[in-house]
């Protein structure tokens, strides 16, 4: 509430008056009607300003914190998804020489000479490898081709650098590679964002789908959203009765139930995931028990598949559903249900038309929390999932930490962010964001 008030205050004073209650324009205008307007209005305005400044300075640290921990990283991610500095910085003469090139025929001698000059300089400065790796994103194999050229460039004597380079590797005579240089030398590029949704820009056909065996990102995204949705559904099915039980128990029992919910919540995610491995594996406790009972003689496959992912994720995320639900349910008076019953409603219809609507804010908050946290899971699916149960966050982590392809990591993050942003209004409409209770 405070955070919203803070932002509203900056945007429109009128709205701030609503949010911040007694002090604001509504207060000053009420007094202004009864005394000399000009003097009092001035005093009040000063008082208002002072109060607003106090209010602002009170929220300033929080606001700054939000800017630092949310604003800047998100902006950085958006920026990195289109930022493309390497080639134009490391191969400046080539970039300039190809600025006017239309990409219809192999570039002339001038472009080759510019490339040779750039490559010679960048090889000495040891920067060529970074540009070469960037070019390799466009066409696999371009990196070693560039490195080979850069190593030999000093020994190419001419008269035609163009002929020399093509003699060194005939791919230098292939227009596709020069188009790739042109694409890669722009300061900003849509390639990462397009690649994150399995598209690519080509010179001949415009926007097309990526090659079939490299078309993975949409599949991963769909899978990620599907897994998250199922986890939300399961959390509702399991969490709702639990929250109801806690909210309607005696205080002493409530405490015990809360501890049961919170202890796993405080346990490390890795420990809980590992515990599921011990329980669910083929020779694990559950299978051992089932075999001992004689229910089965072959162990059930309960882990390293989708089932294992759901079990572990629901276990980890259940508190995020139960806690908001509980906080709403505890404030619902039991009188409503009794009143409904006394008016002749059956328990089920009383629940549907009286109880459930009052829990929607908590349900909405729980669903949103669980869904958004689910989207970012990757350690758990990696440890308990099978080969087709990996989520998009694992790809982001690999790009960010492993190969350090930050453009691709940022682009995937942006796509996930956009999807969440697109879902939010739908959710808001359904759950009524104003009534949402995140406490």
């Amino acid at each position: 509430m405070r955070r919203r008030g803070g932002f509203a205050l900056r945007r429109s004073p009128g709205h701030a008056a609503l949010c911040w209650g007694g002090f604001g324009i509504s207060a000053s205008s009420r007094h202004a009607q009864t005394t000399d307007p000009s003097v009092l209005a001035g005093k009040l305005a000063r008082g208002d300003r002072a109060r607003k400044l106090t209010a602002l300075s009170l929220i300033a640290p929080l606001f700054l914190l939000l800017v630092c921990v949310f604003g800047v990283p998100i902006l950085a991610v958006l920026y990195y998804s289109v930022d493309n500095p390497l080639v134009s910085r490391i191969l400046p003469q080539t970039t300039a020489a190809m600025a006017e090139w239309d990409g219809q025929a192999l570039p002339g001698e001038a472009a080759f000479e510019a490339f040779a000059a750039d490559a010679k300089h960048a090889y000495k400065a040891k920067t060529i490898a970074r540009a070469a790796l960037r070019l390799n994103y466009e066409i696999a194999g371009f990196r070693s081709m560039t490195m080979k050229a850069a190593r030999r460039i000093k020994r190419l004597t001419g008269p035609s650098i163009k002929e020399d380079l093509i003699a060194l590797d005939k791919r230098w005579g292939d227009i596709a590679y020069w188009r790739a240089i042109k694409d890669a030398s722009a300061s900003y590029t849509p390639r990462y964002l397009l690649a994150a949704v399995d598209l690519k820009m080509t010179w001949d056909q415009g926007l097309v789908q990526a090659e079939e065996n490299r078309r993975i990102y949409l599949a991963y995204l769909t899978e990620t959203f599907w897994i998250s949705a199922v986890v939300v559904f399961l959390c509702v099915v399991i969490g709702y009765p639990i929250a109801y039980l806690i909210a309607t128990s005696k205080p002493a029992n409530q405490r015990i139930l809360f501890i049961l919910i919170l202890i796993p919540f405080w346990t490390s995610l890795l420990v809980r995931t590992a515990a599921w491995v011990v329980l669910l594996q083929n020779q694990g406790m559950i299978n051992g028990f089932l075999i001992w009972l004689g229910i089965t003689d072959q162990p059930f496959e309960m882990i390293f598949n989708r089932f294992g992912v759901y079990v572990a994720m629901v276990h980890i995320l259940l508190p995020f559903m139960v806690l908001p639900l509980y906080s709403v349910m505890k404030s619902i008076s039991t009188d409503y249900m009794r009143a409904a019953a006394s008016l002749g409603a059956r328990p089920f219809s009383a629940f549907l038309s009286i109880y459930l609507p009052q829990t929607i804010p908590g349900l909405g908050a729980g669903c949103l929390l669980v869904f958004v946290i689910s989207l970012g899971f990757y350690i758990t699916p990696a440890l308990v999932g099978g080969r087709s149960d990996q989520m998009v966050a694992s790809l982001i982590a690999e790009f960010a930490l492993g190969t350090a392809n930050w453009g691709m990591a940022a682009a995937l993050a942006v796509v996930v962010l956009v999807c969440v942003a697109a879902i939010y209004p739908i959710y808001h409409r359904f759950a009524g964001g104003d009534r949402m209770n995140l406490n």
Binding site: V72, P73, L75, A76, Y79, Y80, D83, P85, A125, K126, T127, A129, R130, L133, N136, Y137, A140, G141, F142, R143, S144, M147, E212, N213, R214, R215, I216, A219, Y220, E223, V277, Q281, N282, Q283, G284, I303, F304, A382, L383, G386, R387, S388, Q390, L395, E398, A400, L401, G402, T403, A404, N405, W406
Partner: protein, 354 residues
């Protein structure tokens, strides 16, 4: 430019802050980064602390998590928080090419001929040899034991799940060798599109039985619990499981050999200490002690094996276990993977999900 510069710095700083103390490049002590855990603790006892003591200096330690992110952050911020770091071959080659690591003056370290092949390079001094072997649970496998690489793909004789690391790198080579490609020709075949298809086709034969691991500890656990019938695994992990009473066995046929290297970061304020450290680390007796008493990885200097009993050498990636092995980190192997990693990782992920 200013927005770009600021964002770049902020992001890079965030990455750095996670692992590194910032802004003390000039004042800080000699700093060694290694892989953490039991591994680094053993290094501290046998190498770091005695070396620092012999020189009468202090030292700091840090953990390197693998991958390129930490080095990219150093490139962007020009902040060099470490003096020496233990890296894998791919990162060593990349850092050497991009000028992040110092080109070594070997006269300050020792004759290159003392090292196992591939361990003395332009920018790196070999640390240790790690092998990925095929491991199985001797109690559960039955009377017939797997002996060769081909047996990993024989689902008729040994039905059941197989553990494989979730990563195309060196798995395609593994598949090609099982498909009859000689060790020396692997990259000749793999660098053609038909060769890549052939590798995936070979993996298709066992695809429905594959269970992918990410953390090195998973493979021996799965073997011990019987969730998989065989798995590729780091030899050190298998040995640790054996020590804790698991009846696991290793197949050394054409195992995949990895070599880690020490590199010096360019811009380090302690270059001389770093050279001294590399020389100290190349002591055969100390390396033998590490292999015998800490973790069963292979030494990077030839003479170390003479200080290890033959019985122990049989369980290490050393001696005849690495003869005929598939050695990663050849120039053609590194070049192949830098060129094709992105494309093949995408294809691997697509293949996996199909």
């Amino acid at each position: 430019m200013s927005l770009k510069g600021t964002l770049g710095k902020l992001t890079a700083a965030a990455v750095m802050a996670a692992t590194v103390s910032i802004g003390v490049a000039e004042a800080r002590e000699f700093t060694i980064a290694s892989w953490g855990g039991e591994y680094q603790k053993g290094q501290r006892d046998i190498f770091f602390a005695p070396y620092a003591k012999s020189k009468g200096m202090k030292f700091l330690e840090d953990t390197y998590l693998g991958g390129w992110a930490q080095f990219q952050a150093m490139q962007e911020t020009k902040n060099i928080p470490w003096d020496v770091v233990q890296v894998e071959t791919a990162e060593m080659a990349r850092g050497c090419e991009e000028g992040l690591f110092l080109q070594l003056d070997w006269s300050k370290i020792g004759p290159k001929a003392n090292y196992v092949p591939g361990a003395a390079t332009e920018c790196g001094v070999g640390v240790v040899i790690v092998s990925v072997v095929i491991a199985y649970n001797d109690t559960l496998i039955g009377a017939d034991k797997p002996k060769t690489l081909e047996d990993f793909f024989n689902v008729k004789k040994w039905p059941g799940k197989r553990g494989l690391r979730d990563d195309p790198k060196h798995k395609l080579e593994f598949a090609l060798m099982a498909d009859g490609v000689p060790v020396g020709d692997v990259y000749k075949v793999l660098s053609t599109p038909a060769g890549v298809d052939r590798a995936f086709a070979k993996l298709d034969e066992v695809k429905s039985s594959l269970q992918f691991w990410k953390a090195g500890a998973q493979a021996p656990e799965w073997l011990a619990s019987g969730d998989v019938v065989m798995s590729t695994a780091y030899n050190g992990r298998v040995s640790s499981a054996q020590k804790s009473g698991r009846n696991l066995k290793m197949v050394w046929d054409r195992n995949t050999v990895y070599l880690d290297s020490w590199v010096i970061l360019k811009g380090s304020p302690h270059v001389e200490a770093a050279y001294g450290y590399m020389k100290y680390y190349s002591d055969p007796k100390l390396q033998a002690e590490y292999s015998m008493n800490v973790l069963p990885y292979g030494p990077s200097v030839m003479d170390a094996v003479q200080h290890i009993p033959a019985k122990v050498t049989e369980t290490l990636p050393a001696g005849k276990n690495v003869e005929g092995a598939f050695v990663t980190g050849s120039a053609e192997g590194i070049a192949f993977w830098i060129d094709n990693l992105d494309a093949l990782t995408e294809r691997w992920n697509a293949w996996k999900g199909q």
